[in-house]
């Protein structure tokens, strides 16, 4: 990957709303060049989406999130991929990662109630062929997400003018 593209990815990771004009100014490039580079990154599915980072704890909605450790038996020809797909196809599933260590797949789920989530694990997840066991951990509180400390106000503690 070119250095310019790395810079663009860093800028957008920090603030996805940064305009093409601003990115062009920041990198000393033409707007056309930046536009083309972003289009290329989207085309290659390197940039997938431009979401906002939201502190849902402050939003008045009932929601539970769980991390589920899943141990599975890999399939002869497909390894973990086929079974992972059977899991990630469910809309409730937010993230699926293949892990090293004591279990194989880390599955992250969101649901509107604890009961629904538990049912999903019992009825959908555990019953998939090849799933050996599951261990469900509910999230109680988020402190930091995507590098952002959730409860901290970002205030400028510097003197307003200094030499």
């Amino acid at each position: 990957m070119q250095k310019m593209e790395m810079h663009i990815l860093e800028i957008l990771t920090d603030d996805a709303r940064t305009s093409v004009g601003q990115i062009a100014a920041m990198l000393g490039l033409s707007e056309d060049a930046v536009q083309a580079a972003i289009a290329g990154l989207e085309e290659q599915r390197i940039i997938l989406k431009y979401p906002a980072l939201i502190n849902w704890e402050k939003v008045d909605v009932e929601e539970v999130e769980a991390l589920i450790e899943v141990r599975v038996t890999p399939e002869r020809d497909h390894g973990f991929d086929a079974i992972a797909e059977q899991i990630y196809r469910f809309e409730e599933v937010r993230n699926v990662y293949l892990m090293s260590g004591g279990y194989d797949l880390l599955v992250m789920l969101k649901s509107s109630s604890l009961k629904k989530l538990a049912l999903f694990v019992a009825q959908k997840l555990s019953t998939i062929d090849g799933v050996l066991s599951t261990a469900t951990h509910f999230v109680l509180k988020r402190y930091k997400s995507e590098g952002v400390i959730l409860d901290e106000k970002t205030e400028d503690r510097r003197l307003k003018v200094s030499p």
């Binding site: 810079h7 860093e10 800028i11 603030d15 940064t18 601003q22 100014a25 920041m26 990198l27 000393g28 400028d156 510097r158 003197l159 307003k160 003018v161 200094s162 030499p163």
Partner: protein, 390 residues
């Protein structure tokens, strides 16, 4: 009591900093977007702070050697060699100071006899000229200008050298102009100095914040090592301003005299900060300066953003190549002070009038881009409004 008759005249006669006056106004106003801040907007990386906290827990709450912790001096020596290809003996040629600021003060006091002249590029950081005066010397400004990108030129240097010239301050990358000196620029200065006994106090606190090419340490230029006191510190590159930690490097004969003043005046730099600094250097050297690079990349983007923004706003601005300041020209018809006051009162943007940095800073204003993109864009927009209304 009549204090005027009691106070040391050469201290009393130094005018208060032009920045202070501005600060008093700005700190009382609400909703000001400040481009007036001369320090990083990043907090100290937590790993460095954690090392200091750990040192306190372990009971490292005593004086260190006057020179600073040997482990820190060794790390500084390794860093200077790795980063700038300059060698110093950690036992005799590196002194840990209370910020590079202390380094400026004690270097001047170690060198200057009453009446000695010290050359200071104009415009430059606010502390040099008063520092020379406090040491009993005479500050002689050396002109730099936008036409030469505010670099020190051999011609300007030759004009001001006299038999009384004792030392020269070489502050690059420069606050407030953002100027840097390339190797060729430095060679040209070195050629002039070789004919003299002038000692160079090279304040390289912004060395890491060099955006095009790599910083060249003046001591690395052939023949300059033995006449150069290199000052640097942790404030800018490692976002550690409040820790007050810097260092002075140079020939044993010079640094030992700096240490003599330091040991009587200061004793030693703060101990906890020295532990944070060891962590800053060691973790940076182990990670190929990833953290430093992340900050420098961010400043570099803001640098382009502010310069293009100012130019689009109709302001003349030469391209700064180092530190985190743009130094654009004040629109015709106004002094720096008048423009900055208008900017503050009418548009609520704080920038520092260029004359705070020397006579030749008149006609310019300093905009720090150690500020968020959002604030830079907001400020530049308001500057544009003011310029169009003039």
């Amino acid at each position: 009591m009549n204090y005027d008759q009691i106070l040391c005249r050469r201290v009393a006669e130094v005018p208060p900093s032009g920045i202070r006056k501005f600060f008093d106004v700005v700190s009382e106003m609400k909703g000001v977007v400040s481009l007036g801040v001369g320090e990083p907007d990043f907090n100290t990386p937590w790993g460095y702070s954690d090392a200091a906290i750990y040192s306190l827990r372990k009971g490292h709450t005593h004086y260190t050697s006057n020179w600073g912790l040997l482990e820190l001096r060794k790390a500084i020596a390794e860093y200077m060699e790795m980063r700038f290809q300059v060698e110093y003996d950690p036992k005799k040629q590196i002194l840990v100071t209370v910020g590079a600021s202390e380094g400026i003060d004690i270097a001047l006091r170690a060198l200057v006899e009453p009446g000695d002249e010290v050359l200071v590029p104009d415009p430059s950081y606010v502390s040099y000229a008063p520092g020379v005066t406090f040491a009993g010397g005479v500050c002689v400004p050396v002109r730099t200008d936008a036409e030469h990108a505010f670099k020190l030129t051999p011609e300007a240097l030759r004009e001001v050298i006299t038999p009384k010239t004792k030392a020269m301050i070489l502050p690059y990358p420069n606050n407030p102009t953002g100027a840097v000196m390339t190797r060729a620029d430095m060679e040209a200065i070195a050629a002039v100095l070789r004919e003299t006994n002038i000692i160079v106090i090279s304040d390289e606190i912004y060395a890491e914040l060099t955006y095009e090419g790599k910083h060249v340490c003046f001591a690395e230029i052939p023949g300059m090592w033995e006449r150069t006191i290199t000052l640097n510190g942790f404030s800018k590159a490692f976002a550690m301003t409040g820790w007050r930690l810097g260092y002075a490097c140079g020939p044993t004969e010079l640094i030992s005299v700096l240490c003599k003043i330091h040991q009587y005046a200061i004793m030693c730099a703060p101990t906890a900060g020295q532990f944070a600094a060891i962590e800053a250097l060691k973790s940076s050297m182990q990670s190929d300066f990833a953290e430093v690079r992340r900050m420098v990349d961010t400043y570099d983007r803001r640098r382009r953003l502010i310069v293009s923004g100012l130019r689009n706003a109709g302001v003349t601005c030469h391209e700064p190549k180092g530190a985190f300041y743009a130094f654009p020209a004040v629109p015709k018809g106004l002094t720096s002070q008048q423009f900055c006051e208008k900017l503050l009162w009418e548009k609520k943007v704080a920038a520092v009038p260029g004359d705070a940095f020397g006579e030749l800073g008149e006609g310019f204003f300093r905009c720090s881009y150690a500020a968020s993109n959002e604030n830079i864009l907001k400020a530049v927009e308001r500057i544009g409004e003011l310029v169009s209304e003039l």
